[in-house]
């Protein structure tokens, strides 16, 4: 457990958008995808997804629709909108720059 990481404030949106890039998914699926992708390193309380999802939906970055899972469970599926796709591209490059910059700062001085 000691190796688990807290999701940084603000990055959750990016993770959600990124996850939805592969197609519509429900809340549970999104959480599971993030955990799997991060090799279970990212610690994510399941419930914390929902406020984020609703906020993204309010900002029209994603949209929702009721659907059925493979196991015939009715669930709300989220999908990227055009604005969401644009935002994803922008946020991704910003994130990369951020990581690069932080890494540069942290690199041992020669």
């Amino acid at each position: 457990m000691a190796d688990k990481l807290e999701v940084l404030q603000g990055t959750l949106d990016l993770l959600i958008l990124r996850t939805l890039q592969w197609g519509p998914q429900h809340g549970h699926g999104i959480g599971q995808a993030i955990r799997t992708k991060s090799d279970d390193l990212l610690q994510l309380e399941h419930g914390s997804l929902y406020p984020a999802l609703h906020r993204l939906r309010r900002d029209a970055l994603i949209e929702s629709e009721w659907g059925m899972t493979e196991n015939k469970q009715r669930a709300k599926f989220y999908r990227l909108t055009r604005a969401g796709k644009k935002r994803l591209v922008a946020e991704e490059s910003k994130w990369k720059l951020f990581v690069k910059t932080v890494a540069k700062v942290l690199r041992p001085q020669e």
Binding site: Q9, G27, H28, E45, G47, P51, H54, R58, Q73, K76
Partner: protein, 863 residues
């Protein structure tokens, strides 16, 4: 909408639990354990619901209400801040609403007649001359009616047609108008009872009268059988044929009676008797310029027919002016009202900027909160929306308080308005005024919040999070800008106020040429039916004077046909026998009895005054004033020379004396000189009794009126006032203007200094750390104090410079309202730049002193 969201969230969350549980069961957990586990990893359900709900972003009204509620809560936590801002708003909104209601009532509120926009007045004008605008005469009326096609009809009104009403009750003087028969048709007003008079009745000078609703109620108790009743007017029996509705008060509410306008044939002449108001109604679709063009053509042709009277020098001729009826009413006060509206607008703007500055300060102290909101995903637009919504409670407070203040002001201030102000009856607290108050409060708050909201929207979250208390540079800049603007506006207002104060003091220094102290005046008009001969009228006046002079405390008494500064005059041309080459000289025509000049304090400069030996059958004599004497005779002696009314058959009269010139119309304009005839030789029906008293004039009022009543119990007496009161009435508009503009200047000074104080003390607070370091490095207290005062100084100097630059055009705009000062008056120019820095210095002393208390150790430790 919301309930559906709630249901969907519940379903979404239970779906999540279901999927998780199912997965756990598939991984081999027991149903119970799987369900508990699923709940555990989901987290605190209540918190999730709460946080999710917050993102729903409240649709429409709900969102705004929510923000407003939040704003209200924030305000209640900072009561001092809230009261300062609310007071600023109440003051600004209240004053501007009050001023607007006056402007609306006087200038914008339509006249109470159907389709009032089509009603016009027709004036004469002599282009290039002194008389830019004068009344119509009877010939104008007949010609205009016959030749023009722009009007449905044109009516003619003689405004000076007052009657002594006798009979049952106290005798009284009624203000009445003689009108052409078609006036009610032009105005489209129907009588409440009975009928109006006919063209035939007008032409035969029938003794019929139409009463106003108020006269009917006041004098006749609303008698339903009033029609057909004969009432004694000027001693003759007039039959009441109609009563007009309550809202018909033409031309002003003071008029209570209308009689037919009989035009005797000798009244209808070119170039004479410009005694009438002409009111017309434009045909549908005809505009004022179109009517004006037609009238110009008619007047040009008329001038060709009557070159003697209507052609002027340099190819010009007497013109006609077509003007909306409403404009004619508002003309005398329009300039003053615009100035008041502009001044109150400036005040409101300063208040608005103050609100901006205070909002910026609040935004700064809440920078962290805003940054957190931004970090949590609130967009710039959302933050702006919230800031706007949060100040709506303020605007509601401001609107309610402002409306209450305006209502109070209106209730008490309408009585303070000069009695000469037109359309006072139309001023009130009506729907347009209410709409204005609400709109202006919303506008002010929105304008005030826009800048802070923009700054908030720009907030850099990382920067703010790092520097816990430092503000963003833009905010200080915005605030400095606002304060500079406030100072500039204040300079303009103070400058305007100073111009008005200087004008008033110049007017107060004017010598009217007569005394205003210890003089009692009252008016009477003789009933000619009782005294048909001029000689009888003159004798009646003499008997009254004898009685009045016998009263103890009376120093002198006399009659004159028109009292100075009472708002009426009688003017006309005179010729001088010795100077036939001089054209007719425009003068005040006065008839006076012996004793008038002593009573009014008009000095005799040469020769003698009228005496009781000047009788109707004795040689004809007259007096001229020293202005006319100088103009005509220079230094030569005018005694023994002769003058006459500038009409061929009028008799010449010998000048027996020269008296001091007086200002008859206003203190501010010296219009024309005076000539006097003895009342016995040029008898007038209307006269003002002027009584010089030893004690306060008011103490003799009852005794003097009692003497008149004893002489003739049926003689009405009206307009009983001391000369001092007449004087105050002439000054009332200027007095009020000066007070109001000066008050606005002072109020804006207070508000601007408040804003300056806010900015200086805030910036000083921000720089405490810097001051601490400076002092740690050896800077003295004086150095730090100078830093703070320097900032205030820069703002004030910039503001003053900008203000002075604006003062010049502002002064020019005020020019027509000034007296005795130029629009770029030096004294007025330096008032604001002297007053403001002093007050500003005082305002910044506090922050400066606090700054010097910066303790190097503690500020650095706080870092």
């Amino acid at each position: 909408m919301r309930e559906q969201e709630e249901r969907e969230l519940e379903e979404e969350l239970s779906a999540h639990l279901a999927i998780e549980t199912r997965q756990r069961i598939e991984r081999g957990q027991s149903a119970d354990a799987a369900e508990t586990g699923a709940r555990l990893v989901l987290g605190n359900l209540g918190k999730i619901r709460e946080e999710t709900r917050e993102t729903w972003g409240w649709t429409g009204m709900e969102a705004i209400l929510n923000d407003i509620w939040y704003g209200w809560r924030v305000m209640r936590k900072a009561p001092v801040w809230t009261s300062v801002v609310a007071l600023t708003l109440v003051l600004g909104i209240g004053l501007s609403t009050a001023i607007f209601s006056v402007v609306y009532g006087v200038m914008l509120n339509p006249l109470p007649y159907p389709e009032p926009g089509r009603l016009i007045t027709l004036w004469n004008s002599a282009p290039g001359g002194v008389y830019q605008r004068f009344n119509a005469n009877a010939l104008n009326w007949t010609v205009w009616r016959a030749r023009s096609h722009s009007f449905e009809d044109i009516a003619l009104v003689r405004l000076i047609a007052n009657y002594n009403l006798t009979g049952d009750g106290k005798p009284e003087r009624l203000q009445a108008a003689r009108t052409s028969w078609n006036l009610p048709h032009v105005l489209r007003v129907e009588p409440l009872m009975g009928r109006v008079f006919t063209e035939k009745e007008q032409n035969s000078d029938a003794h019929v009268a139409v009463l106003s609703y108020y006269l009917w109620q006041r004098r006749f108790g609303g008698d339903p059988n009033i029609l057909g009743r004969k009432i004694p007017l000027n001693g003759a029996a007039y039959e009441v044929i109609g009563v007009m509705p309550a809202n018909y008060r033409f031309p002003t509410p003071q008029f209570e009676l209308w009689t037919p306008l009989y035009l005797p044939p000798d009244e209808i002449q070119p170039g004479l008797n410009y005694n009438y108001m002409a009111v017309g109604r434009l045909k549908t679709g005809v505009t004022v310029p179109q009517a004006q063009a037609e009238m110009s053509g008619i007047m040009r042709q008329f001038a060709q027919e009557h070159p003697q009277t209507n052609r002027l020098s340099k190819g010009k001729f007497v013109e006609a002016i077509v003007e909306p009826l409403l404009d004619g009413y508002t003309l005398p006060v329009r300039g003053a009202l615009w100035v008041l509206l502009a001044a109150v607008g400036c005040l409101l703007l300063i208040g608005c900027f103050n609100l901006s500055i205070l909002l910026l300060a609040r935004a700064s102290s809440r920078a962290k909160e805003i940054a957190v909101r931004a970090a949590l995903g609130a967009s710039g637009g959302r933050l702006r929306r919230q800031m706007l919504a949060e100040v709506i409670p303020l605007s509601i407070l401001g609107a309610i308080g402002g409306i209450a203040l305006a209502w109070l002001l209106l209730k008490s201030a309408v009585q303070l308005l000069p009695a000469t102000m037109p359309r006072i009856e139309s001023i009130g607290f009506n729907v347009p005024v209410l709409v204005f108050a609400i709109a202006i409060s919303l506008l002010v708050v929105i304008v005030a919040a826009l800048l802070p909201a923009r700054v908030a929207g720009r907030t850099q979250m990382a920067g703010t999070m790092q520097h816990s208390s430092r503000s963003v540079a833009g905010r200080t800049r915005a605030r400095s800008l606002l304060v500079t603007a406030q100072v500039a506006i204040t300079v303009v207002l103070l400058f305007g106020g100073a111009l008005f104060v200087r004008s008033l003091s110049a007017v107060l220094k004017v010598n009217p040429g007569f005394t205003t102290q210890g003089v009692l005046t009252m008016h009477l008009a003789v009933t000619r039916a009782k005294h048909p001969q001029d000689r009888q009228v003159a004798e009646f006046y003499e008997r009254i004077l004898e009685r009045v002079r016998s009263l103890s405390g009376v120093v002198a008494a006399g009659f004159v046909n028109r009292l100075p500064l009472s708002g009426v005059s009688q003017t006309g041309g005179v010729n001088i026998e010795e100077r036939p080459e001089m054209q007719s000289l425009d003068t005040d025509w006065r008839s006076a009895t012996p004793g008038y000049f002593e009573a009014a304090g008009i000095p005799l400069k040469r020769g003698r005054l009228f005496s009781s030996y000047d009788r109707p059958d004795s040689p004809l004599v007259g007096l001229i004033d020293d202005q006319l004497a100088h103009k005509v005779f220079g230094d030569a002696d005018p005694i023994g020379k002769r003058f006459r009314i500038a009409i061929a058959d009028q008799p010449w009269v010998e000048i027996i004396g020269v008296v001091g010139h007086i200002l008859n119309d206003t203190l501010e304009k010296d219009v024309r000189p005076q000539v006097y005839w003895p009342e016995t030789q040029r008898t007038q029906d209307r006269a003002a009794l002027v009584v010089r008293t030893m004690a306060r004039p008011e103490t003799l009022t009852a005794a003097v009126m009692e003497q008149i009543r004893k002489e003739d119990p049926d003689q009405p007496v009206y307009d009983v006032r001391s000369m001092q009161e007449w004087m105050s009435q002439t000054l009332s508009t200027r007095n009020l203007m000066t007070q109001v503009v000066t008050f606005f200047g002072a109020a804006s000074l207070v508000l601007a200094v408040l804003g300056l104080y806010g900015v200086v003390s805030y910036t000083a607070g921000q720089r405490m750390r810097e001051f601490g370091i400076r002092m740690a490095l050896g800077a003295g207290l004086g150095h730090v104090r100078r830093l703070v005062l320097g900032q205030a100084g820069r703002l004030v100097v910039c503001g003053c410079a900008l203000g002075l630059a604006l003062a010049w055009p502002a002064g020019r705009a005020l020019r027509s309202l000034l007296y005795g000062v130029t629009s770029s008056d030096g004294v007025a120019m330096i008032v604001a730049p002297v007053v403001l820095p002093v007050v500003a210095l005082l305002a910044s002393l506090g922050p400066a002193r606090r700054a010097t208390r910066a303790d190097p150790a503690s500020t650095l430790r706080a870092e």
